[in-house]
């Protein structure tokens, strides 16, 4: 039996999970419209590949991954693209993001799916497949999964941790997934294991989910894997990646390092499931399991298409009349959905209908009494009350000294605060201010560098010009001096010559000079033409037939207009 470790702090809020686990996962019916945001994961925003009016099939790529850390986006069902436009995002700000609006045709027709045999392929090809299938971390952070599947070259991979803890109250989507689709989860874990080659694979599940533990253990036994399925004590936030790693392996990830530096990598169970679907069935991520619970008549888990508008999704659970809003995520870390037409996205694990009875309005914030409760429960051993003072005073340098960026915003401190201070809100505020300032600073540094470079260039150009002018002036002066000298010499020579001969010779000289000048001009024209012909345009080597036709058409036009002589006809030698 594996001996478990503990992390500091943590709280035990009421779990509220029983409501939504009594019924199995159901397929949500097709909504009337889908709004699929292109930016659903960390990293580059995918480029739209479709346009309004185009017909798409289920699983067809509608957004191409932009950069390595980015994941593709796919059409959740077959239908017609109505628009590629800004639509309200599932984000606390209520701002819009570029989304593809699809009107389903009801046929739910798949595009061609090509399963791959991940064992026979190079690891790069498997990672590429996951990127193309839009597989991202479904635990909530939505980091592209393929980006985490490259083993470090320097640190040997010790443990692969699979996160099925699901510690947030109300949420049961991973629980139901593990109960009902355990085998596919385990197969997905197998894909990760093959790519990372860890020494051990540990699957951590909170001990309030005995059915899920049993299901996964049975699946592991059936598939003959040696994964350890471990029930961990129920304590929020045991499902935080660093916390679960601590509990299962005893390793504490230092603030400046990542878990891979210690030879540990962590994935969510739902991510493993989607990875398996992508590899073995060629299915991209077009839907996810979402818990619909809270103040609704029929709480349960639904497999809903990404892009389903919130209004159509919550109708499935029949919200009670006193519902006054919807939270995305859990009550500890979630946020209020900004609008009823905001879509479900890859990060949406749970929708909670809230009501004044379920989440009573907090009494007003009181002054901090420095009781230290927040420091006791902080799983990262920070001092939230100190951070609070500095964030409140907008003393951002100090907040960084107190390691504000180690805060995972789990909400334990706000949960226990007897003065009901919204501590996490202060920390979020401070973090985003610091990020904004850093961005501004970088932009200013860049602008400064570019300005200095331009000034230097301008000065150099000026100096070069002045030098050139000076040279030209000197040359002119020298020429004038030489001419004057020559004229003087000629005059002297003429004076020396016999006066009788002068009349016969002088008219001949100007004629000669004129002829020489003409000859020089003709030679220069000839040279220029030869040069023009010798220099082939560089960008005309690999033209498509269409481009060649276009160029020929333009040339013909130019000839008609008389701008250019016909290229084939040899020019007549100029007189």
């Amino acid at each position: 039996m594996l001996s478990l470790f503990k992390f500091k702090g943590g709280v035990k809020p009421q779990t509220n999970k029983a409501q939504s686990v009594s019924e199995p996962i159901a397929m949500a019916p097709l909504p009337s419209r889908l709004f699929v945001p292109l930016h659903q994961s960390i990293g580059g925003t995918p480029q739209p590949l479709v346009e309004a009016g185009q017909r798409v099939l289920k699983g067809q790529r509608i957004g191409a991954a932009d950069g390595w850390i980015s994941a593709a986006v796919h059409a959740p069902t077959s239908g017609t693209v109505r628009a590629v436009a800004e639509h309200v995002a599932a984000h606390p700000s209520g701002l819009t993001s570029l989304s593809v609006e699809i009107e389903p045709d009801g046929r739910d027709e798949w595009c061609e799916r090509t399963p791959i045999d991940h064992g026979a392929l190079a690891p790069e090809a498997v990672r590429e497949r996951l990127r193309e299938a839009g597989v991202v971390g479904l635990g909530g952070a939505v980091f592209p999964t393929h980006g985490k599947l490259t083993a470090s070259k320097t640190v040997p991979m010790e443990e692969l941790v699979i996160n099925g803890a699901e510690c947030e109250p109300f949420i049961t989507c991973d629980d139901l997934l593990m109960r009902e689709r355990a085998e596919e989860v385990i197969r997905g874990v197998g894909v990760f294991r093959d790519l990372l080659q860890p020494k051990r694979v540990l699957i951590g599940i909170e001990d309030n989910k005995p059915e899920a533990v049993a299901a996964l253990q049975a699946a592991v036994a059936k598939l003959g894997e040696n994964f350890a399925v471990v029930a961990v004590p129920t304590l929020y936030p045991a499902g935080g990646a660093k916390q679960l790693i601590r509990v299962l392996t005893g390793k504490e990830v230092p603030s400046t390092k990542r878990s891979t530096d210690l030879g540990v990598q962590c994935f969510n169970v739902a991510t493993a499931y989607t990875a398996w679907r992508a590899v073995a069935h060629g299915e991209p991520v077009v839907s996810r399991i979402v818990t619909l619970t809270g103040n609704v008549e029929r709480p349960r888990n639904w497999e809903a298409l990404l892009g389903t508008p919130l209004s159509e999704f919550v109708a499935l659970g029949a919200p009670k009349p006193d519902t006054d809003g919807y939270l995305m995520g859990g009550p500890m870390m979630g946020f209020a959905m900004p609008a009823m037409d905001a879509p479900l996205v890859k990060a949406t694990n749970c929708i909670i209908a809230s009501s004044p009875a379920l989440f009573p309005a907090k009494a007003p914030e009181m002054p901090c009494i420095r009781c230290g409760e927040c420091a006791k429960v902080c799983p990262h051993e920070l001092q939230p009350f100190e951070l609070y003072w500095f964030a409140r005073a907008k003393n951002f340098g100090k907040t960084q000294e107190y390691h504000i960026f180690d805060c995972i915003e789990c909400g334990c401190c706000s949960f226990v605060c007897p003065s009901r201070i919204p501590l996490v809100q202060y920390f979020r505020f401070a973090k985003s201010e610091i990020w904004a300032r850093e961005k501004e600073k970088n932009a200013a540094d860049q602008a400064k560098a570019r300005f200095e470079w331009k000034t230097e260039r301008d000065e150099r150009e000026k100096a070069e010009k002045a030098e050139k002018l000076a040279k030209a002036a000197a040359a002119q002066a020298a020429k004038k001096a030489a001419e004057a000298a020559a004229a003087a010499a000629a005059a002297a020579a003429a004076a020396a010559a016999a006066p009788g001969d002068a009349g016969a010779e002088t008219p001949a000289a100007p004629v000669d000079a004129e002829a020489a000048k003409k000859a020089a001009i003709a030679a220069a024209i000839e040279r220029a033409r030869a040069q023009r012909e010798a220099a082939a345009p560089k960008n005309t080597e690999q033209l498509t037939p269409a481009q060649q036709r276009e160029i020929a058409a333009v040339d013909a036009l130019r000839q008609q207009a008389g701008i250019e002589p016909p290229p084939a006809a040899p020019e007549e030698p100029k007189p």
Partner: protein
């Protein structure tokens, strides 16, 4: 008596040598205060302060020739930070504070005169003679220096609105409930 004088003299020579060495070894290049002032300035290089760039303005502030409230892009926050650094009184900004903006060239109207390219202090405009120009908006500092030279008035300043990339969590406020 003589020994005492000798010891004092020796001490003076040793300390003098040490100080002389230190003044060469740890010589400060330039004025560090100017650097600090410049770090606060937003580097838009717009010249709205009346100096040709942020560096000259920083030097003028350092010499006491210029006031600290002449930089509109830096805003009131910039004035406050300068006041803090220099121990001067923070004054209200001379000009109006504008929202951040980037220049935008209407490519239908642009005649390709290159005047704006020459005016841009940070090389954020690309184009060539008789080819239309465009702004690289990531590099544009919003200095507006390209606006006046344009002979066809095709450059406008587009304010940068709030979007998902630059959205910030707001400072928590206590909602005041109306008491009957």
């Amino acid at each position: 008596m003589l020994t005492a004088i000798a010891i004092m003299a020796l001490g003076a020579v040793v300390l003098g040598a040490a100080l002389g060495y230190a003044s060469i070894k740890f010589r400060v290049e330039g004025d560090p205060l100017v650097e600090k002032i410049e770090a606060i300035l937003p580097q838009t290089q717009c010249g709205q302060c009346g100096y040709p760039g942020c560096r000259p303005y920083a030097e003028a502030i350092n010499k006491g020739e210029a006031d600290i409230n002449l930089c509109p892009p830096g805003g009131m926050e910039g004035v406050q930070r300068l006041a803090e650094l220099l121990g001067r009184e923070a004054k209200p900004l001379e000009a109006e504070e504008k929202p951040k903006a980037v220049a935008f060239i209407d490519e239908q109207t642009c005649i390709g005169c290159t005047l704006c390219i020459q005016a841009c202090p940070v090389d954020a405009i690309v184009g060539a003679a008789k080819q239309m120009h465009t702004i690289i908006d990531d590099l544009c500092t919003g200095c507006e220096l390209c606006v006046p030279p344009c002979p066809v008035e095709c450059i406008t300043m587009e304010p940068i609105g709030e979007n998902l990339d630059n959205w910030k969590w707001k400072y928590p406020v206590i909602e005041l409930k109306k008491v009957a």
